[in-house]
Every structure is written in C-alpha cells, then in structure tokens.
C-alpha cells in the first residue's frame, strides 16, 4: 500500500489575532513523524484557532507553520491540502451527498480541472471506507446518518485525502463513549502524524504520545501525558480537582475529576 511517508510538523512562534484581539500568542509546537500530539486546555484557550492556522483557515499574524521544511502558508492551496487533512468542527447538514460522495471529497486536492476519477482515486476512497468501517454507509444519505456514523465518514474523507498529516478539532465531540474510543482507535491505526485538540483529558492521555497544554493562548506545559497531567496543573489550568491513577488495563494516567471546592475527602493541592 502507498502509505504516506510520515513527516514533521513545526509551529514556530505562531501568533493569531482575530479582530485585533490576540487569541494565540507565540506558540511553538513540534510534532515528530508518526507522532500523535494532543492539544488540551479550557474553552477559549486557543486550541481551535491554532489548528485553523495549521490547516490554513486563519493566517498567522506572525510565526510560521512548516511541514518537511516547507512553509505551509507559502504553498499553493492544493499542494498544502495534499500534506494536511483536517476535520474541522463544522457541520453543514443540507448536503445532497451520499456517504461515498462525502468520502470521495478527500480526493479534491489531487484533481485538476476536468480530471476524472481514476482507479487510484477509487482505491483510496474504498480503502478509507473500509478502514473506518463505513462501507455499508456508502450508499446512504450523509445527512441521514447518526453522529457517530457521520464522524467516521468524515474521517474516511480525511484518510482518502492520503496526507501524511491529520489535524483534528475535537473529533469526539457529540459522540457516545464507545464511538469516542472507536474513532480514536481508527485515527491511531491509520499511522498518520496527528495533531488533535481534545476536550476529554483521559482520552488525550490514552491516545496521545505527547500533550501540549494551552491556556490563554499560550503553551503552559508540554510533555508526555504522565509528565503533564498532574494534580497541580489540572487545578491551575482547568480549575478542577484531579486525582491521578494508573489505568489498570493500559497503565496510562487516568484522572478522577471533582469540583474544585475543598469539600470531600480528597487531598486538595497546596
């Protein structure tokens, strides 16, 4: 199979202003080849804005986004889209598209004007549907699918794009527990280099090699889940009390969360 070669993504002092307000200020992030890196942080910490600067929806005010040495913002749009596939948090339900047609959209950056679908396109689409277990949804109307089915078809679209990099903005939003695991399992199995914003700290701990913590548009901590997810940090950044235990099955850190009030039997952080 023609698996895309993994490559490194480097964010170098990225700063994004929206209507004169600085949302993201001077962020440095490096994602190694094949690595899955998670962005965590409270609402409004700049996670989505930072990701938008990576998949070229918001041009950084300063700083650079580099992939394999090339400045992503200087590449022609289609060439950049052959390097990075994204799952933004937008959902336009009024589409008259089938599951197959939605997945096939991933081939857009590979096709010039009037170019017909080739065997390579059909193979990429078929493989993406198979990997995401959505072959049976190919003929269904996308608008009529459940939330979990839609998200898997959208992931199929991103995989059909056959990019080395995958950028995901809260991919597990609105999914039930089983589908959350399922989707992130599929992302992991794809072997892509991943940069993902995640709300759920335990999912972030379970699926990411490294985490960056964003707060007020800045990186306040970075490292492996074990290094980052401490009681002190969770209290400072999220304002909740966390007890960190090891997941008995995976050995990865697992947070038991409680409100910040010093009530209850837990040892409040000092």
């Amino acid at each position: 199979m023609s698996a895309p070669k993994p490559a490194a993504l480097v964010l170098d002092g990225v700063r994004v202003d929206l209507s004169g307000v600085r949302i993201v200020s001077g962020i440095d992030i490096a994602v190694g080849p094949g690595e899955r890196v998670g962005l965590i942080g409270p609402n409004g910490s700049g996670k989505s804005t930072l990701l938008r600067a990576v998949y070229r929806h918001l041009r950084p005010h300063s700083g650079g986004v580099r992939y394999g040495g090339a400045d992503l913002w200087r590449l022609p749009p289609r060439q950049a889209a052959r390097a990075i596939a994204a799952l933004p948090q937008e959902n336009h339900a009024d589409l008259e598209l089938t599951g197959y047609e939605m997945a096939a959209m991933g081939r857009t950056p590979h096709k010039g004007p009037f170019a017909a679908d080739t065997d390579e396109d059909r193979a990429a689409i078929g493989e993406a549907l198979r990997r995401t277990g959505t072959e049976h949804l190919a003929g269904r109307a996308f608008a009529g699918l459940s939330g979990g089915e839609k998200q898997r078809v959208l992931l199929a679209r991103a995989l059909a794009q056959r990019t080395p990099l995958l950028v995901l903005d809260e991919p597990t939003n609105h999914l039930d527990v089983r589908h959350q695991f399922e989707l992130l399992d599929l992302v992991s199995a794809s072997g892509r280099t991943v940069l993902a914003a995640l709300h759920d700290l335990n999912l972030a701990a379970a699926y990411c090699h490294r985490l960056y913590v964003l707060d007020g548009g800045r990186v306040t901590a970075a490292g492996t889940p074990e290094e980052v997810l401490t009681e002190r940090l969770v209290a400072e950044v999220f304002g909740v009390h966390a007890q960190v235990v090891a997941n008995p099955r995976t050995g990865r850190p697992h947070l038991i969360l409680n409100p910040a009030e010093p009530s209850g039997g837990g040892a409040a952080p000092g």
Partner: protein, 356 residues
C-alpha cells in the same frame, strides 16, 4: 493493518446511473422544440415544419409551402424555441450556482439582487425613451443593471475579507427590495399606457421578441460559463462542506465564491436582458434535478441546464397556446406551474432525507 486496495463498485455511490434521466430530459427537450415550432395560430403540419427547417439548413430556396408558413416557422418559431431553450438553460444553471454560492437550496438569482438590477436597467430605458443603442438599448441597459447590482452586492457583502454566504443573501435581498421600489416608481411615472404595458410584459418575462440575431450571444455566454463552472466542479463541491473544510481540501472559499458570483451575474444579466424577469426556473429546476443527481456539480450542472431548457420550451408553448390567440407572459406561467411544483419538491425532500 493494510488490506489490498479494492475498487469500489459504482453502485456503492448510492445512486443509480444518471443516463436514463438524462436521456429522458433530452427526449423531452427535443419533443418540446419540435412541438414549439409546430404549434401556434398558423397551423403548419410537423412534416412541413421539418422540411422547411431542412431546406433552410441546406441553403435551399422556396418549397411546396406558402411564404407565410416559411416565415412563421423559420423566422419566428425556430428562433423563439431556441431562445427559450437557451434562456431556460441559463436560468437553471444560474439558480444551481446561486444555491452553491450561498450554500442554501432555497436561493436563486433574485436573492442576489441581480434580476431586479437588470429590471431597473431595462425599465429605465423603456420609460424614459432614452435609447442610445437603438432597439438593443433595453437589453444592454438590463445587462448593465445586473452588473451594477452585482458590484453593489459584492461591495456590501465582501468588503471585509471573505465573501460569506449569509452576508451575500442579506445584501442581495436589501438591493432587491430597493430596486423593486425603483422599478415600481418608474412604472408609475410612465404616463403612456402603452409603455406601462410593455414594461409589465417585460417584467414578467417574454420570448416574443426572439430573432436569429439574438441567439449567438446567450449561446456563447452559456457555453463559456458552463465550461468554467465544470472546470471548477470539484472546488464547488468542496464549498458545500463549509469554508474551513473547503480550505482543508485546497479550495480557497472566498476566491472560488467571487468567481462563481461573477459567472452568475454574467449569466443572469444576459438572460434578463433577452427575456426579462422569468422567475422560479432557477429555484425549481436545480432542486428537482438534485433529487436525481445529488449535489455533485459534475452531474448537477449539465443536467440542470438541460432540464431548464426543456422546462422553458414547454412553458413557452403553454404561454402561447393556453389563451390563444392572446399570449401570456412566460413568467406568469413559470410562477403558476413552479409554485406547486416547488412545494411538492420540498415535501419529497423532507421524506427523502432528514428534512430541511
């Protein structure tokens, strides 16, 4: 784990083949064109009609039919039927493109202010009698009016960075309301009842002035716009998914939308200039065709144009024959037929998928 790549069967798209529907529409269009040339106040048998057309195409002289039959068929009915087909195709294509432009299936060039821009231009010429280009003045003024409306709406909606769908609709509706007021004012000011009549007839749409000389320009514009839109079919598909997704698929949404808006303005301007304000085709036809083709522009655009052509040819037959010898404005017929058809489509859609 990697399984060997297998080619997905076409049936996996979830749609039947599109060619039976396509063949059906082509058959209706062909039959409509023939019927349109045969029917009318002067009876001409179909066989004679075909022989007259064949004789003219081969550059021959008079045949065993009267000179008035020859004139009616070749100089009046054939150009009129062809103009109906071209205008219907253009309006349906403009409607389909507008629905993509504003990402809403309930839109047509009216919501962008283009149709009334054209109306103001033409009506101003008819009412004031100011005609620097002779008989072509109303058409030229309509085209200019549509482009002026385009520029106004573009500036109102796109002044800040991106051309967002909602701002486009709101700006377009504002311009439409303002211009429809101007049009009414101009009509009221016309003191000559004959002028008012011709203005009203023009506002409701008419193909009565069709002439061989009128066909070249809309055919060329239609061909150019269709070609450019088909070249952009994949970016247009991407626009349906939202601006962020479109960007991530390598389609710059603002730039693509600006090009699309310009193409719609050209198309609407030329069609309004030739045939006046014919409503409902841009709304109803793409909607109906989408049930058959889905949202993929590579299938939708050509079929919508064909269906629009067939629809307006049939409507024109009805407009000429329903109250014969009196002629109805085609815009009235499209509205009378289009409104119930549209409601039926909305219901069909609601059953079909998750609803509007």
């Amino acid at each position: 784990m990697t399984a060997p790549a297998r080619t997905a069967a076409p049936a996996a798209r979830g749609r039947g083949p599109v060619w039976p529907g396509c063949a059906g529409i082509c058959a209706v269009l062909a039959a409509g064109l023939v019927a349109s040339v045969c029917l009318g106040a002067v009876e001409v048998p179909p066989g004679t009609v075909l022989r007259i057309i064949a004789r003219h195409l081969s550059g021959g002289g008079p045949g065993p039919w009267t000179a008035s039959q020859d004139t009616v068929v070749w100089n009046l009915r054939v150009p009129r039927a062809l103009l109906a087909a071209l205008v219907g195709a253009g309006l349906a294509l403009a409607g389909a493109a507008t629905q993509t432009l504003v990402r809403n299936p309930l839109a047509d060039p009216y919501v962008l202010g283009l149709t009334y821009g054209g109306a103001v231009g033409a009506v101003a010429v008819l009412v004031t009698g100011f005609a620097p280009f002779g008989p072509a003045s109303a058409g030229i003024a309509a085209f200019a009016g549509a482009l002026a409306a385009f520029a106004t709406v573009y500036a109102l909606a796109g002044a800040r960075r991106a051309l967002a769908p909602l701002r486009l609709v709101l700006s377009g509706m504002a311009v439409t309301y303002a211009l429809s007021g101007v049009t009414s004012f101009l009509v009221l000011r016309a003191d000559d009842p004959g002028t008012t009549n011709s203005v009203l007839f023009w506002l409701f749409g008419s193909l009565a002035e069709a002439d061989w000389g009128d066909l070249g320009l809309p055919a060329a514009v239609l061909a150019v716009v269709m070609t450019v839109m088909l070249a952009q079919a994949r970016p247009l598909n991407a626009l349906l998914l939202g601006d962020e997704t479109a960007t991530s698929l390598g389609t710059p949404p603002a730039r693509t939308r600006a090009l699309l808006f310009l193409l719609i303005a050209l198309l609407t301007g030329i069609m309004v200039a030739l045939a006046g304000g014919i409503g409902f085709i841009g709304l109803v036809v793409p909607h109906a065709v989408r049930l058959l083709t889905g949202g993929d522009h590579r299938r939708l655009l050509p079929l919508a144009a064909l269906a629009g052509a067939a629809f307006l040819v049939l409507v024109d037959i009805a407009a000429r024959t329903a109250l014969s010898p009196q002629e109805l404005p085609v815009g009235i017929v499209t509205a009378v037929l289009g409104a119930p058809l549209f409601l039926w489509l909305v219901h069909a859609r609601a059953r079909d998928t998750s609803g509007l």
